[in-house]
Each structure stands twice: as structure tokens, then as C-alpha cells.
């Protein structure tokens, strides 16, 4: 089965994200994106709009000294939705994060992300890492 065009587009976005060039991420995000960060930690909450989301990305990079990396185990996508099974690793002082995130995206008609939400296989570990 051929790959939907949104799959390589998302793969490209993840490469940009890992590079730390968050301004370049803007090309992949809808202006009115809503980014839900679940859990119970200081980064939890809803981020509205591309500037707020890019600010969140910068905070994450700063707090992890640029160590946070994402690696997709699988990317599924069609015109409207995408889901990613994402191995996420990071270090923060003496803390280490190593979880599998299930991530959902809704996509606009240009393939840009306009809503994001996710859940880890170990939310307690995520909470402890960011708290």
C-alpha cells in the first residue's frame, strides 16, 4: 500500500524538530493550532496558536539542554488525521525520560497540524521528569 503524502511530511517535521530549528517548524503548524499537553506537571496545559506552541518547544529544549529526541516507531496518516507512535528520550539534570508516546494529530487541508494530543505508556514517569 502506498504511503500517504502526509506521512513523509510528518517525518520531515520530526527531523526538523530534532534539529532544534523550531522556527522552521512553523511551516508544519497551522496558525490556530491547539497543542494539548496532558499529565500533571509544570508543562501541562493547552497551548493556543503557533507562537505559543513554538514557545513551548523552546522551553522543552531549554529545560532538557537540547537532549530531547523523538523517533517515530510508526506514522499513520490520511488527509484529515495522523497518529504517531513515538519513542521519546531526554535528560534533565539527573533525570532521564524514556517513554513511548501515542500521539494524535488533526490536519488542515494543507497537511499542517491543527490539533495535537498525546498519552505516554508511563505518565507517572513523564510527570516526574517535568516536575
Amino acid at each position: 500500500m502506498s504511503e500517504h503524502p502526509n506521512v513523509p511530511r510528518i517525518r520531515g517535521a520530526l527531523e526538523v524538530y530534532n534539529s532544534g530549528d523550531h522556527d522552521a517548524m512553523k511551516a508544519f503548524l497551522a496558525d490556530d493550532i491547539v497543542w494539548h499537553v496532558g499529565g500533571n506537571h509544570e508543562m501541562s496545559g493547552d497551548y493556543h496558536g503557533v507562537d505559543a506552541v513554538l514557545g513551548y518547544f523552546r522551553d522543552v529544549r531549554r529545560m532538557t539542554a537540547g537532549t530531547l529526541q523523538v523517533e517515530a516507531e510508526e506514522i499513520l496518516a490520511n488527509d484529515r488525521h495522523a497518529s504517531l507512535f513515538m519513542h521519546v528520550t531526554a535528560h534533565r539534570d539527573v533525570r532521564t525520560l524514556d517513554v513511548l508516546l501515542a500521539e494524535a494529530l488533526t490536519l488542515d487541508d494543507r497537511g499542517r497540524w491543527n490539533e495535537y494530543w498525546a498519552l505516554a505508556n508511563d505518565q507517572d514517569a513523564v510527570d516526574a521528569f517535568w516536575t
Partner: protein, 138 residues
């Protein structure tokens, strides 16, 4: 285009839940399935095995006053993973719920779900609706 077999299986899982057919629902899950559900509600936490699946889905039914309605909006499927997007609504005397749930699953070698993530987009609304009982890791 013909749907991927994992997409068809996931639709059958959701249909079994909606028809209240617990034996058919459980057929879709590996014996050692792990089910992750976020939030701070009676249906939040990590649920293990078929007993955990029964506990989660029974909890959904009971906590929603058996008012839950589920509509399949979209399904994405590959060889190992599948994600189904569900419009879920429910109504009790003290509140309403209207969320989109992304339900993710990985399939074992026999096509049974062995790891699942159940994730509402509006977690605050989900928590408010199901508030009122204890929660925690199981």
C-alpha cells in the same frame, strides 16, 4: 480502497463495546493486554488483562449512566498499529460530555490488541464529567 485488516478488527472491537457484547469485545484483546487511560477519574489509570478491560468498559458504562454514544469518525491502520478516532457523547442529569477520543492500539502476532491508549482530546471536560470517584494505577 479496501480497509486494512487491523482497521476492520478495530471497528469490530468498537462495535462489540457498543452492542454490550463483552465476550466478543474480549476476543479482540491479548490475555496480557495493557490499557492506558489518562486523567483523574474512575476510568483513569493503567488496566491489565481481560479483567482490566472489563473494569474499564464497565466503568465507562456505569459512570456515564449508560448514556454513552460512540460514532467512528476515522481509522488509520498499519501492520502493527491502529488508531481509531471516535466522537463520544454522553449525558447525565448533572452534565454532558462531547469529546473526540483517539484510541490507539498495537496488535500482537495473532492480531489481538496487546497495548492500548485511550485519549480524549478535551481531558478537562472528560475529568469533569467523570469526577466524583477515586482513581489511580491498577
Amino acid at each position: 480502497m479496501q480497509e486494512h485488516p487491523n482497521a476492520i478488527r478495530m471497528r469490530q472491537t468498537v462495535d462489540a463495546f457498543m452492542s454490550g457484547d463483552m465476550p466478543r469485545l474480549l476476543q479482540g484483546f491479548a490475555d496480557d493486554v495493557v490499557w492506558y487511560a489518562p486523567g483523574d477519574t474512575p476510568v483513569s489509570g493503567t488496566f491489565h488483562g481481560h479483567e482490566g478491560i472489563i473494569e474499564f468498559f464497565s466503568g465507562l458504562n456505569e459512570s456515564s449512566g449508560e448514556s454513552m454514544k460512540v460514532r467512528v469518525d476515522d481509522v488509520l491502520a498499519g501492520e502493527r498499529y491502529v488508531t481509531i478516532f471516535l466522537d463520544i457523547t454522553a449525558e447525565r442529569h448533572d452534565g454532558r460530555l462531547s469529546v473526540i477520543v483517539a484510541q490507539f492500539a498495537s496488535a500482537d502476532g495473532q492480531g489481538r490488541w496487546d497495548r492500548c491508549w485511550f485519549l480524549p482530546d478535551k481531558l478537562d471536560e472528560w475529568n469533569r464529567f467523570f469526577a466524583g470517584a477515586s482513581s489511580g494505577q491498577r
